[in-house]
């Protein structure tokens, strides 16, 4: 290492190999500003919830005690957990509000919103694409032509949708046990605990492994796909990954409306830094979960 530095210092003419990023003039806009903000908020909220919540779930590991102390004790951790939950509820309701606004903007009927081409709901095309993908995986066919939302993206979306509903409702029960037991039997708190905790485990486990792989870590995107943070993706990528959407846009002639100047370099850097942090914390949590579930389970 010191030798390397010496060599480098003695030869200032040779610049460090920098991978020059070719910055395209215009990029395709996949996510709106609000959607990006919601995703970022959700990351903060989700990681906070997961970290604080898992200290309780894995209280039998020494890790948990350490993390709990780092966070300022179980009461502070609990406060963070609830604050993050409020943020999550905020994200959820903002998204629902945005859906309604979207419906108004696009002058869609309720049916159109739910079953239209941009809908997140699963449809026949998703089933076909899923079967096609399976064939592609085993080498029995070409890569299917995906549209705006692939079936795994829809799965992720509904996993969160379902998760917020289930974890949120049980979480509220546990937050206000006295209030809820005015209606429900006391033992429902026990059931709520199990559901809340296991569903949370599912959510964290799924997000930090499957979702991470599907969107960031799969080799052609490695180490990450920043589209959800910048909102932009190169047109070539759209052409390759979402050919159906691209073709539809080209056919309708609206493609240019969806093109924008790329984000400034500094913004992209900040976004990458943030994404790296989120990814790292996510991985740590996965390691912790595996350790707690496999090696320290009691």
């Amino acid at each position: 290492m010191p030798t390397d530095l010496e060599i480098r210092a003695s030869d200032p003419q040779t610049p460090a190999p920098v991978r020059e990023l070719k910055r395209p003039d215009r990029e395709f806009v996949r996510f709106t500003r609000l959607q990006r903000a919601l995703h970022a908020s959700m990351i903060i909220s989700f990681i906070s919830l997961a970290t604080t919540g898992l200290t309780l779930k894995f209280s039998y590991t020494s890790w948990a005690a350490t993390v709990s102390r780092l966070l300022g004790g179980f009461q502070t951790a609990g406060f963070i957990h609830r604050a993050a939950a409020v943020l999550m509820f905020g994200v959820f309701s903002t998204h629902l509000y945005d859906l309604v606004q979207h419906k108004k903007r696009e002058k869609l009927s309720w049916l159109g919103l739910v079953f239209g081409p941009g809908s997140m709901l699963f449809n026949r095309q998703d089933l076909n694409q899923f079967i096609g993908t399976m064939k592609w995986f085993v080498g029995r066919g070409p890569r299917p032509q995906y549209g705006r939302w692939t079936y795994w993206e829809k799965f992720d979306y509904f996993a969160v949708f379902w998760g917020i509903a289930v974890i949120g409702s049980t979480g509220l029960t546990l937050w206000f046990p006295v209030l809820f037991t005015r209606l429900l039997p006391g033992s429902f708190l026990n059931i709520a605990t199990i559901i809340h905790s296991d569903e949370a485990l599912l959510a964290t486990g799924f997000i930090f492994t499957v979702h991470f792989f599907n969107t960031h870590l799969r080799p052609e995107k490695f180490p990450m796909d920043t589209v959800v943070f910048t909102g932009h993706m190169p047109i070539a990528e759209l052409k390759r990954d979402k050919p159906l959407e691209y073709e539809a846009l080209v056919k309708s002639g609206h493609l240019e409306e969806h093109m924008e100047e790329p984000q400034p370099e500094v913004v992209v850097r900040a976004i990458r830094a943030f994404a790296w942090c989120a990814l790292s914390v996510g991985f740590c949590i996965v390691v912790w979960i595996i350790y707690a579930m496999v090696f320290a389970y009691r």
């Binding site: 309780l56 890569r143 046990p177 708190l189 199990i194 296991d198 599912l202 492994t209 799969r218």
Partner: protein, 679 residues
């Protein structure tokens, strides 16, 4: 008094009376001079004779003689040498031999100090007549008798008082005998109150068998003195029971103080004397700082130590018994070490039963004896702050042996370690050392000072059976609650071992119960017996928070109580139907009965007891597993294809870059051509 005569006094009196009647009848047949013949001369009051340089009257008062015990006898019965002789007889009549009739008394007297002195030719030695008189001898019970109890002190005192030739010229250890006696409780009774049953000289010394106290047969020998005193003080053992066990007192007088060690001869009072037998005598040698025993022990005694000690009023010889005042070194007869149980009898018995005493009895010199804890001459009471047995000094005292590595700790095989250190850090130790609370429990508060027994001994104060009472000595209110709780042996009848105070609070590390450590450890403490229920507690929110190391959550005793734990179906329980809501409300204000239905020990591993939880858990687990399996397979299948795509992409990028570079080069070539062309 050890002769048969003293044992059968009534019989002897009868026998003697019979003998006298026989003698009285005898002169009728004798030929010798009659009493009247003798009195012909001896009724002359002026009749004297010179013996040596003394003039002795030969007058016989016939009235007195007739009234005397010997009245019925004729003169020649005693003056036997004149029997059958003609009168007037020759001078130089041999002395009367009383022993011809009083043979027992004669024998005793001959063997006595007085008799031997006569045999030696000691002119000061008393003969029968010196005490009893001659012709006017009256029965002892006659108050006019010379030897009636009231006169005895004066009879003996004629020689045994200050200033007499006997007292000045003969070696007699006691001084001021008559004077002291007259002031003694016995002397006062006899001489002032006329109590004829009170002890006179002869009561202790016997009338005729007067022997030095060094003689084993003497009535005042150490071995016999108890028997002598108990002739009158028959029930004295009862009085001295606290001090000396009655039987020991008589059988092993050598190891015990004799009556006279406390109640000095001739000075007997019903109080102890401040000055003992001979403290000053002891200090003649033991004041020497360099006095050494043969084995090298220093025998120096700092007399001020004793004076300032609890034993200030105890004489040397009361502890160092077996001294013999007739020796030049009275202490050379000592064969046993000081036995404190002579006075501290009850404590001595406790010590004998204690572990210390048992080890000591087995001949192990490691065992502590009285002086190892209490010291020797400078013993101070436990209330004296500089005493080694003052509460604040007790841990260090016991620690001398029980500290880790010391002789008691080394041989100890039990579970307690670092005892002294743990105690010092415990609430009791801090209370004692830091807060200076002398009422705090020290070693002896729990283990007792003298009856120290291992916990396995049913009599031990630290035996589980006795621990509640031991702790309850101070923590009375707690004990009251505890004995009614489900953990008390008086409530729960079981073969299993029930917990007592130290099972939760430990023995030596007792902490404040509001310390985080204690609060967090209580779960595993309860869990030692209630294993399953503790495990399920840790599956709930309360358990998880406490496992993380925080105490602001419900712990066992917050719901179940601590010392007043009852079965949950007991109406007195904090968790009974009537009390449970209030118990929850301690933390959860506004808690309702429905809220109290929360399963605080729920587990999702018991389908029989908690089917809802069980199936919820397995439903969730199935959901998790299937999702992860699906996601996992999907990902794994995707991976090789994605790698393939990555390679293709990179290849394409490379191609594009190459193509771009190529076009750029072409463009610059064109520029050059254009430039050339322009030129």
């Amino acid at each position: 008094m050890f002769s048969s005569s003293s044992r059968w006094p009534a019989a002897m009196t009868l026998l003697r009376a019979a003998l006298m009647l026989l003698l009285a009848w005898a002169p009728a047949s004798a030929a010798g001079p009659t009493n009247d013949d003798c009195l012909a001369c001896h009724s002359d009051k002026t009749m004297t004779v010179k013996r040596g340089n003394r003039t002795v009257s030969l007058f016989v008062d016939i009235k007195k003689f007739a009234a005397s015990v010997h009245g019925p006898l004729s003169c020649t019965n005693c003056h036997a040498s004149l029997d059958g002789k003609d009168l007037p007889h020759d001078p130089g009549v041999p002395a009367v031999v009383c022993g011809s009739c009083h043979s027992d008394e004669q024998k005793l007297h001959a063997a006595s100090l007085h008799g031997k002195a006569i045999a030696r030719g000691d002119a000061l030695a008393p003969h029968c007549v010196d005490c009893h008189g001659n012709h006017d001898i009256l029965p002892v019970k006659d108050h006019r008798s010379a030897v009636t109890p009231l006169n005895i002190p004066f009879v003996c005192g004629r020689c045994h008082r200050e200033g007499t030739p006997v007292q000045m010229n003969r070696k007699i250890d006691q001084h001021n005998i008559l004077e002291n006696y007259s002031e003694s409780i016995h002397g006062e009774a006899v001489m002032k109150k006329g109590l004829i049953v009170a002890a006179t000289c002869v009561s202790c010394h016997t009338p005729h068998s007067i022997l030095p106290h060094t003689d084993p047969n003497s009535s005042i020998n150490r071995r016999n003195i108890a028997a002598t005193c108990t002739k009158c003080h028959a029930q004295i053992e009862q009085v001295h029971r606290k001090t000396i066990r009655g039987e020991l007192w008589e059988k092993q007088a050598n190891v015990l103080p004799a009556c006279i060690d406390c109640h000095q001869p001739h000075k007997v009072r019903n109080v102890f004397y401040s000055q003992g037998m001979a403290d000053a005598d002891c200090m003649r040698c033991h004041a020497d700082q360099h006095l050494k025993a043969r084995d090298g022990r220093n025998l120096f005694v700092q007399i001020d130590d004793v004076a300032g000690s609890r034993h200030a009023k105890v004489a040397c010889s009361q502890c160092h018994s077996e001294v013999n005042a007739s020796h030049v070194r009275p202490c050379e007869t000592i064969t046993h070490p000081v036995d404190c149980s002579k006075c501290h009898e009850e404590i001595g018995q406790q010590y004998q039963r204690s572990r210390h005493g048992q080890i000591q009895a087995s001949g192990d010199h490691n065992a502590p004896i009285c002086k190892d804890c209490h010291g020797t001459h400078h013993i101070l009471g436990k209330h004296d702050p500089i005493s080694v047995t003052f509460p604040t000094n007790v841990p260090a005292l016991c620690g001398g042996c029980h500290r880790e590595g010391q002789k008691a700790a080394v041989r100890y095989t039990g579970r307690q370690h670092e005892i002294i250190q743990h105690y010092t850090e415990s609430i009791h130790g801090k209370g004692l050392a830091k807060s200076g609370l002398t009422v705090t429990a020290t070693c002896t508060s729990c283990h007792t000072a003298h009856l120290i027994l291992p916990r396995t001994d049913p009599e031990s104060t630290v035996n589980p059976k006795n621990v509640p009472a031991t702790c309850g000595a101070c923590h009375h209110g707690i004990q009251e609650q505890f004995v009614q709780s489900v953990h008390s042996a008086s409530v729960t009848k079981t073969d299993k071992e029930l917990p007592v105070c130290n099972d939760c609070h430990t023995a030596h590390q007792i902490r404040r119960t509001d310390e985080t450590g204690f609060m967090l450890d209580i779960m595993s403490t309860c869990g030692r017996c209630h294993g399953e229920i503790a495990k399920t507690y840790f599956e709930t929110y309360h358990g998880k928070v406490s496992r993380l190391g925080y105490t602001k959550t419900a712990k066992c005793y917050d719901c179940h109580g601590s010392h007043d734990i009852q079965r949950v179906n007991d109406p007195r329980s904090h968790l009974s139907r009537a009390n449970v809501v209030a118990t929850c409300q301690k933390c959860h204000a506004n808690a309702t009965r429905r809220f109290a239905g929360y399963l605080t020990h729920a587990t999702h591993h018991d389908p029989a007891k908690y089917p809802f939880l069980y199936w919820t858990f397995w439903g969730m687990t199935t959901l998790l597993l299937s999702t992860f399996v699906f996601g996992g397979i999907h990902t794994l299948l995707w991976l090789p294809k994605a790698m393939e795509m990555r390679r293709e992409l990179r290849a394409e990028e490379a191609r594009e870059a190459a193509a771009e570079n190529g076009s750029l080069e072409q463009a610059s070539n064109n520029d050059r051509k254009d430039g050339n062309h322009a030129h």
